[in-house]
Amino acid sequence: MKKIPQQLVLFIYAAIIILPFSMVLFATFKTTPELYKNPLGMPESWSFANYQDLFLKESMVTYFMNSVIVTGVSVVCIIFFASLIAYAIIRMPKKAGLALFGFFVVGMMVPTQVNMIPIYLLVNKLGMLDTLRGVIFVSIGFLIPIAVFILTGFMKTLPDGLIEAAKIDGASEWQTYLRVVMPLSLPSVATVVIFAFVIVWNDLLYPLLLLKSSEVKTLPIALLDFQGQYLTNYPMIFAGVIIASIPMIVAYVFLQRYFVAGMTAGSVKG
């Protein structure tokens, strides 16, 4: 049993975390004057008018789908490409593997803002400005280093004998990768999925840089525009915040263990 002061400290800090979120959730059911009068409390009535308004005035479904496409395609490609690389690194002669590992992992040191100008110019040149493709390619390129880092680290710990056994049974590299190494690497794959999911879904910089028209906007950038558009209509902005956060919250509640592993595996990356 903990001492009372300790319990109190823990409780107060939990309140500091929860209150702003409950305020946001309650606010989405209030009118603007009601929010100003009573910012923290429960709404007088649970009206969905703000959500309705938001869906009527804004193409929320499009923004949401754009986020789903960008995140989904990016995460799948990151896992696929990075796990192939990680497998190749542990299978090739040691020195070559180390060199390749270094080539990818050095990218973890580069903050995303550093190369944004050349990225912008490149995507423009390729005619992919204002397309989801552009953001997807850039997101994959930016997250491959951390994914290779995590997956290689894990695959290295798999017993060599298993892969040798598959080889003796006549399996090709592709079959060994798909049937032996990948199934055993699922814990680290889960870590990378969560990590990439959180980063890409929440990413502001690349969409801000590469997407302009409203048909291709993702949720974070749409939210940023709401701020300018609805100024002090906080209930409406907050409704957007809730919609943008729902997939993340649902995933967090069910996959909490993997979230914690995923977000701390990023300890070497931000």
Partner: protein, 319 residues
Amino acid sequence: MQSNNNVERVGGASVASPYVASTAKKRKKKWNWALFFFVLPGFIIYSVFFAGPTVAALFLSLTDWNGIAPTFNYVGFSNYTNMLTDDPIFVQSLGNNLKFTLGVLIFQTVLSLFFAMLLVKNTKANIFYRAVYFFPTIVASVSVAFVWTFMYDPNIGVINNILSAVGLENLAKSWLGDRNIAIYSLAFVQFWAHTGQMLIIFVAGLHAIPKELYEAAEIEGASKWQTFKSITWPLLAPSATIVVAYTTIQSFKAFDLVIAMTGGGPSYATEILSTFLYHEAFINFRFGYASAAAVIFMIIIAIVTVLQFRLLKSNDVKF
């Protein structure tokens, strides 16, 4: 000689596998051209969309390009010298970055360690608290920014309302509008959003400390402070290194928060390196100059990362 080598390597790998003995001779890995195709797709995307642009930033930083004109001049290191000697806004951004990072670093490290020590045991209540504290980490920083923009609002904001409700209305401030405190208001949001994440790293570090050490200390009659000083702290050094380096790098990159909450204002009071170079590039169209800022930014992050690896290595801890 050869067989000795093999035995050693077998010892290092899984001894349990029945295949080990029979395959020991084939152990040297050979090139298989299939692997080349395994690497190819990721290699191309990473080279074209990330590594290449990074190198290009180095070249751009030596030019005076404005991003629009068809031509540009090679200007050597003058972007760098101008920036470091004759750009008050750059210097201010660097200073703001330092204030922000130091503020977050101190509070976040101390408090996440404090909470980790309170929540180290895997009881139901502790796991629940950890989950709550961790939660803001997964919310988009744009969303976090809006939440706190409202909390900080000078007229309708929750903070000023609470202050006046408890009779402290003279402490009420324009949290984001006051030049002297805006950067610290932002630092608090960063702290609020990421303390739970650092806490988890510390909890993992605490779990890795052998229980026998604490039992021995108890038998010896060591005080709580002595136990912390001579067992917990030294053995926690690797986690602390990770937390400090991670916090520093994360704070340097607090781009989203600044863009969504203040845009760098009022009058550059919250401009940090990452937003400075974004504004230079896409508002002022000084691509060459902004690239020089980017390179300086990269060098600072690289130094922090290398220091982190050095420290971890000297602690001789694998992770």
